[in-house]
């Protein structure tokens, strides 16, 4: 039992003023996924099958995979819960069958439980050393955590198990953060060019990576072209939309962001970018509405004890001109993940809070790994000028 004032205040903030009785029976209270929707139909069919045979591993992993894919494409975490439910008979086991364990790692990773995810991935690879997906996911987690040496090793394992493009993307993503930015970008661009016809989702992934690499060296025209190519293939990819919106915000093109994200406000990270765009545009009324909505959402997340959105929350605090809270959150976030976006966030928070010394761990990190990022370098320069 927690007698926690903070939680109490939050509970008040999420508890609405007054529940009501709708006046009209035909009033639409909530919009749900349509039952006729083919994806939903297929999922319902699989779910019914699994209910009849809950211990069928193949069926369970198929359903879980579908839910994870839907959860990703819709950026809707409820589907991740449904995926976990499909894996229920094996979930508490120390060493579930590899197919289940790989999905468990994916779900753990999605809620930022990185150590548990790593343990599962290593468990899978101990049994199935040729599982390409496991190596790729492992490399991704290692890269996010800044474990570049092991990430490179994991990527290298892919070379004999996967396509050249996937392997090179994996390696280039690490190389771009460890002092070989230009060479990695060139190699990846060339490999994509040579790969000919590739699956659209893979192409989007590669193009997004390439666009971010160009953005990090201030090559705005190249970055813009790559973002556009990727968006043409996948206009609703929420990661891509977020990355492109950040690029546009950096380029001070807020009106483009507002148009891009008009229909994406269900996703916290994208609503945040729209709010940042409104702030750049000086639309105070619209901004106030978005800020209120974001505050309610972050409060609701904290109420359930979630820390998955610390990066977004820190940016939100910067937007609200609370640099001290932003710095606290950025520091906590830095302990969990170390991507360029986390670096820029940390530096920005330290700069706005006027705490040069607080930024030292990140400055050292960049120096140690020879990490190149134009925006981060500018921020460090500003920090040094302040003192």
């Amino acid at each position: 039992m927690k007698n926690n004032w903070f939680l109490l205040v939050l509970l008040c903030a999420t508890a609405h003023a007054a529940p009501y009785l709708p006046s009209n029976g035909r009033q639409v209270i909530e919009t749900l996924p349509r039952r006729g929707d083919p994806v939903q139909q297929e999922l319902r069919r699989l779910r019914a099958q699994l209910n009849a045979q809950p211990n069928d591993v193949a069926l369970a992993t198929t359903l879980a995979q579908r839910y994870i894919a839907l959860g990703r494409s819709e950026t809707d975490p409820r589907y991740l819960g449904y995926a976990q439910a499909a894996l229920a008979p094996w979930w508490p086991q120390a060493a579930p069958p590899p197919a289940v364990r790989l999905l468990r790692a994916t779900l753990l990773q999605s809620t930022h439980q990185f150590p548990a995810a790593l343990a599962d991935l290593q468990g899978v690879l101990a049994v199935e050393p040729n599982n390409a997906q496991a190596w790729l996911t492992l490399a991704t987690v290692q890269t996010v955590q800044g474990d570049y040496a092991n990430a490179t090793a994991s990527c290298a394992r892919l070379s004999s198990l996967s396509t050249e493009l996937i392997t090179v993307t994996c390696i280039a993503q690490v190389g771009a953060l460890t002092g070989r930015a230009q060479a990695s970008e060139n190699l990846l661009a060339l490999t994509l060019e040579r790969s000919g016809a590739t699956a659209p989702e893979l192409r989007v992934w590669v193009l997004t990576s390439l666009a971010e690499m160009a953005q990090r060296r201030d090559a705005a025209t190249v970055a813009e072209a790559r973002f556009q190519q990727a968006l043409a293939l996948s206009p609703n990819d929420s990661y891509l939309l977020g990355a492109y919106a950040d690029f546009l915000l950096e380029q001070k093109r807020p009106s483009r962001v507002a148009a891009l994200l008009a229909d994406q406000t269900r996703i916290d990270a994208l609503l945040l970018r729209r709010a940042l765009a409104l702030q750049q545009q000086g639309h105070t009324t619209a901004l106030a509405a978005d800020v209120a909505e974001l505050a309610a959402r972050f409060d609701a997340a904290m109420l359930r004890g979630d820390t998955v959105h610390q990066r977004e929350q820190a940016r939100f605090e910067l937007l609200r001109r609370n640099p001290a809270s932003a710095l606290t959150l950025a520091r906590k976030n830095w302990a969990v993940q170390k991507e360029p976006a986390d670096i820029r966030l940390y530096l920005e928070a330290a700069l706005q809070a006027g705490e040069r010394d607080a930024a030292q761990p990140v400055v050292n990190w960049m120096a140690t790994h020879k990490l190149e990022d134009a925006t981060a370098t500018r921020l460090i320069r500003q920090l040094e000028q302040r003192t």
Binding site: K2, V9, H16, P19, I29, L32, P77, G81, A296, A300
Partner: protein, 373 residues
């Protein structure tokens, strides 16, 4: 929670709940509020319609548009399903739960069914054992966010499949600790309230220099007793009246008057104003000082259940603090009363006090700052 933050909180809800069309994508949560009174528990449980639809099906025509009629038609099923996944019990056995009406409310991620219920437990609830299994089988990432209230005390808990059973103590508010806080605040306030101390000391300085036949310890003691008692009676009276909101004075007036009382009490030692009627002066000005104490008590916030008791206890703290000052002052003053030092203190000290209080008076009356703290 202050009124202002409550207001801001409501404003925010109003902004996002009523006007914003976009609903967030978030993991599934339910909001469970329980209020315990004796053996009765009243509950309000907000459960997302989307989650209920996924678990038991609400959208009868499958068009994705959930109407109030469709929800209403499933009210019995919703109540049965939800209450089947919630178990309330005390040490004496399980509580029986009776479903009540169902309403609609909105949270950041959409519309919720608000299920009201009442539970009767076998005996007055001292600890409540809660078993929460809602949606555990269809969405293990679902969480139940509980707010338990009892006699103005609130506690919270988060339920998920790993923490499906929790026992919450429904303790009575810790009155003794609360009282101890008020005593401490009372003592503390007289100690840091230089104006109260200086007022009292100014009135007490002449107590050891009385004319015969009172020029002895007994005479001094009786004089101090009279002054202190008069001061105490007066400030207790106004402290009570002000705390019960029977009288209210603007704080600027009160604070200025307190400063003026210190000026007069100190000047009295240089040029007799009150003559033999210092106890009367202590009483009259004590009335003003009581308002000053009341504002401190107001800032602390009084528990509605124990208003008068807290008041008395705070006052007791003030008297204890006062007694300590007198207990140190009287023997020292009595020993030193015929020394040149004491005469100097009486004149010079009083002049200094009067001057300082005059500065306070100007500061407080005209809201300016002359001295740096």
């Amino acid at each position: 929670m202050t009124a202002r933050s409550l207001l801001r909180c409501l404003l925010m809800l109003w902004l996002c709940g009523t006007w914003h069309v976009a609903q967030a994508h978030k993991p599934s949560d339910s909001y469970l509020a329980l209020d315990v009174q004796g053996a009765q528990v009243t509950g309000q449980w907000d459960i997302a319609l989307r989650d209920l639809d996924f678990a038991i099906g609400l959208d009868q025509d499958g068009d994705g548009k959930l109407t109030w009629d469709e929800i209403r038609a499933r009210h019995a099923a919703i109540a049965a399903y939800a209450l089947d996944h919630l178990a309330l019990a005390t040490a004496h056995g399980p509580c029986t739960v009776q479903a009540g009406e169902q309403l609609i409310d909105h949270h950041t991620d959409g519309a919720y069914s608000v299920l009201r219920f009442a539970a009767t437990c076998p005996a007055a609830v001292t600890t409540l054992d809660i078993g929460y299994r809602l949606f555990a089988d269809v969405d293990p990432q679902h969480k139940g966010l509980l707010r338990l209230t009892h006699d103005g005390n609130t506690s919270t808990a988060i339920f998920d499949p790993q923490h499906a059973r929790q026992t919450l103590a429904v303790a009575a508010p810790d009155r003794w600790r609360q009282f101890a806080t008020y005593v401490k605040e009372g003592v503390w306030h007289i100690w840091i309230g230089y104006d109260h101390i200086l007022f009292l000391l100014s009135l007490l300085l002449p107590a050891v220099l009385l004319a015969p036949p009172a020029n002895n310890l007994r005479g001094a003691f009786l004089d101090v007793l009279k002054v202190v008692t008069a001061f105490t009676l007066a400030h207790s009276l106004t402290l009570t009246l002000a705390s019960l909101s029977l009288i209210a004075l603007p704080s600027r007036v009160v604070e200025s008057a307190i400063a003026a009382s210190v000026v007069l009490a100190a000047v009295n030692n240089l040029y007799p104003l009150f003559r033999g009627r210092r106890p009367v002066a202590a009483f009259v000005f004590g009335l003003i000082h009581g308002f000053g104490f009341a504002s401190v008590l107001g800032d602390l916030g009084l528990p509605q259940g124990a208003l008068v008791a807290s008041l008395l206890v705070f006052n007791l703290g003030v008297e204890l603090g006062q007694l300590c000052i007198v207990a140190v002052f009287l023997p020292l003053a009595y020993l030193l009363r015929y020394t040149r030092f004491y005469r100097a203190l009486l004149v010079g000290g009083s002049a200094l006090i009067a001057l300082l209080a005059l500065v306070w008076l100007v500061e407080r009356a005209f809201d300016v700052q002359l001295l740096r703290a």
